[in-house]
């Protein structure tokens, strides 16, 4: 009886937030879905009309669609692997008793603390062919200057490097919090049982971190998949020759450079469904592993 009352009270308190979410998330989302079935563009700004699935058909007929789609998955996958590996590695190091640990922690969080816009533009400067720090550094090792921003894959690599640098502190902070909550007694018991560091990591650390890492990885996937800023700023709107776009930068350009609102809305719905599918698959696999 008491439990039911407490639950009801919780629901009452959640209700206003639910109303806000309905207004600021659900309404724009439904509006966007509606927009995707119209010919809304610059010439039909005032009088858009229903055009059925035409925008969705156009989306799949887009000559660059396949490349952009695959590039988005590559972008998300590579970034995520490095974010988790570097983030977890840094967290494990910072969880040790190290001299000057607060300083290292502050330095490692720095990329995350800096505004993404500034970081991305700074990295763009660092990738300049003749004056960029990256090529000057490579020259010290006798490596020829790389035209980072002029080639399709080098520009993509430049953006990826930038985003790895920007993104790993998030996983590091989350993992560090998780590591500090693991009881020391578990490690002591494992040590007494003769478990080495690798065994302790895979049998204690990783399983105990799963509850905090899973939502962080899901969030990281969504943020990376939808990361407009880094690609847009480092490759200067998808250069060279629009060859470094991922789905969201392509949509942004369609909407705000070419005023193709209906088409961009259809693209956005497609992105949502793709992300929804990825997250569901990931969650299901995690749930199965847990059992």
């Amino acid at each position: 009886m008491l439990e039911s009352r407490v639950n009801r009270l919780a629901l009452w308190f959640l209700a206003p937030t639910a109303v806000v979410l309905l207004l600021v998330v659900a309404y724009p989302f439904i509006y966007n879905v509606g927009m995707s079935f119209t010919n809304w563009n610059m010439y039909h700004f005032r009088d858009p009309s229903f055009n059925g699935l035409a925008n969705y058909f156009k989306l799949f007929q887009e000559p660059e669609f396949k490349n952009i789609f695959l590039r988005t998955f590559l972008w998300t996958g590579v970034n995520l692997v490095f974010h988790v590996t570097l983030g977890l590695g840094a967290a494990l190091l910072l969880n040790q008793r190290l001299p000057g640990r607060p300083l290292y922690r502050a330095l490692l969080i720095l990329p995350w603390a800096m505004p993404q816009y500034i970081s991305a533009l700074t990295w763009r400067g660092m990738f300049n062919l003749e004056y960029g720090a990256v090529n000057l550094l490579l020259a010290k090792f006798g490596i020829d200057a790389v035209p980072w921003l002029s080639g399709e894959w080098t520009a993509f690599a430049a953006a990826t490097l930038t985003n790895i640098w920007l993104g790993f502190p998030f996983i590091m902070v989350v993992a560090l919090g998780g590591l500090q909550s693991i009881p020391v007694e578990l490690y002591e018991a494992a040590r007494i049982d003769g478990a080495g560091p690798i065994r302790r990591f895979f049998s204690i650390t990783l399983p105990m971190l799963r509850p905090v890492l899973t939502p962080a990885i899901v969030l990281g996937t969504i943020w990376t998949f939808n990361n407009l800023n880094v690609i847009w700023l480092v490759t200067k709107q998808g250069e060279p020759a629009d060859k470094s776009h991922i789905l969201v930068t392509f949509v942004y350009k369609a909407a705000f450079t070419y005023y193709r609102y209906g088409y961009a809305a259809a693209f956005s719905v497609f992105i949502f469904l793709t992300l929804f599918g990825i997250v569901k698959i990931y969650q299901r696999s995690q749930a199965e592993e847990a059992f």
Partner: protein, 417 residues
């Protein structure tokens, strides 16, 4: 807790959220304010603040009106304004290059100024500086030009040739690698080789243009191939950096590491303030065609948002008249060395005698008005990748020209669908 308390808690929470929503989402009362969204550089912004302050003193009848301004870069100004106007909001006045007027007119976001200002007021302006579409005037300029010019650093350059081949030979002499590291310490010329805006003058020098009168692209031409070949020669001969965007070009020139830069009026004041002794000259003539490069010219104008609150329209128009008044335009011309849009101000003897302005005017005379049709966006986007690929050596000039045309046709078709 009793049911009554539950309901009270809920109502309290709901009221807080409701109030926040009403404050956050409600339409802002704009009846007592004039908002300007502008695309200005820092020096222009300082002058705008000064001119607004002068307006306040001269027009005490608008004391109750709050005037504010927000700065955006060119692209953000356009996207932010169209997004705000979709929701029937946005600023009272929007200020930027006249080419943004085309999409705003098609989307019905701004008001025709010939219906708000008297004919004699509009007659003051250089007709080429008044963006006109569908028989209406959609903006009034405080300056015209926005054109690229050859800017020389007199520490490196003693004479500025007016023949492109002579200039080319001079650039070879001016490009020097003192320490022998294979990277010149001083480049002959720098310019943004990312944006096709910097290609257009040379296209004119080879007798071409970007579109015909029906807004159809005219990019796959011998003129385009010629212009691309000329710029590629500059790069292949090592007379300019192999990779160079606007920021790098600007920095190299300011640091004295480039003899020439191709840049516009927005930059000259910064070079002078930075202690660079500069001289302006028209981009040199192409001897094989006998034509001068023709940079695109445009006005920078104020337009009035269609959704301006009627209660603030008088103040909006009064401020607009002030910001394009002869006194303000003369001040801008003196301080920034820009060409006034007002014909009487332009004829002012002190401005006519200014050597920087005179040189700028010589270049404008050779320029060509930037089309203000919306299709220009597709043309720019079609030119950009092929222009870059050609200078990088991935496409020949002929292939790049063909590529531009095909892409422009496709993008325009997408826009018009």
């Amino acid at each position: 807790m009793s049911n009554r308390n539950h309901i009270l808690c809920f109502l309290a929470a709901f009221c807080v959220v409701g109030c926040a929503l009403i404050v956050g989402c409600g339409r802002v009362d704009r009846s007592n304010q004039v908002v300007i969204w502008e695309q200005m550089d820092p020096r222009e912004r300082d002058l705008l603040e000064k001119h607004i302050a002068e307006f306040r003193v001269a027009h005490p009848e608008f004391d109750h009106i709050r005037i504010s301004r927000t700065n955006y870069n060119t692209e953000d100004l356009r996207t932010q304004f169209q997004t705000a106007a979709m929701a029937m909001g946005g600023p009272n006045l929007v200020y930027g290059p006249s080419d943004q007027v085309g999409p705003f007119v098609i989307m019905d976001l701004i008001l025709p100024l010939d219906e708000l200002l008297r004919p004699e007021e509009l007659a003051r302006f250089d007709p080429s500086g008044l963006p006109t579409l569908e028989g209406h005037v959609w903006g009034v300029p405080d300056q015209v030009g926005n054109h690229l010019t050859l800017v020389a650093n007199l520490a490196h350059v003693d004479t500025i040739p007016d023949d492109a081949e002579v200039w080319f030979e001079q650039l070879k002499r001016l490009t020097v690698d003192n320490d022998g590291d294979g990277r010149p310490d001083v480049y002959g010329v720098v310019f943004d080789r990312v944006e096709p805006f910097f290609l257009v003058p040379w296209l004119g020098g080879y007798g071409g243009w970007v579109m015909d009168d029906e807004a159809n692209p005219t990019l796959d031409t011998e003129a385009m191939a010629g212009a691309l070949s000329f710029l590629k020669r500059l790069k292949d001969e090592g007379l300019m950096p192999r990779e160079c965007d606007y920021q790098l070009a600007d920095t190299l020139f300011k640091e004295g590491r480039a003899a020439y830069i191709v840049n516009g009026p927005w930059s000259w004041d910064g070079y002078r303030a930075g202690g660079v002794d500069i001289a302006l000259a028209p981009l040199p003539m192409i001897p094989s065609t006998g034509l001068w490069p023709s940079p695109m010219t445009a006005a920078k104008c104020y337009s009035v948002n269609r959704y301006t609150n009627p209660a603030s329209m008088d103040a909006t128009l009064a401020l607009l008249r002030w910001l394009v008044s002869p006194a303000v335009q003369a001040d801008l011309a003196r301080e920034l060395a820009v060409l006034p849009g007002d014909l009487a101000v332009r004829a002012d003897p002190t401005l006519v005698a200014d050597p920087l302005l005179a040189a700028s005017r010589r270049q404008i005379d050779k320029g060509r008005l930037m089309p203000i049709v919306a299709e220009m966006r597709a043309i720019w986007d079609a030119m950009r990748p092929a222009y870059q690929s050609c200078l990088s050596g991935d496409l020949t000039p002929e292939e790049a020209a063909r590529n531009m045309q095909e892409r422009a046709l496709r993008l325009i078709a997408d826009m018009r669908e």
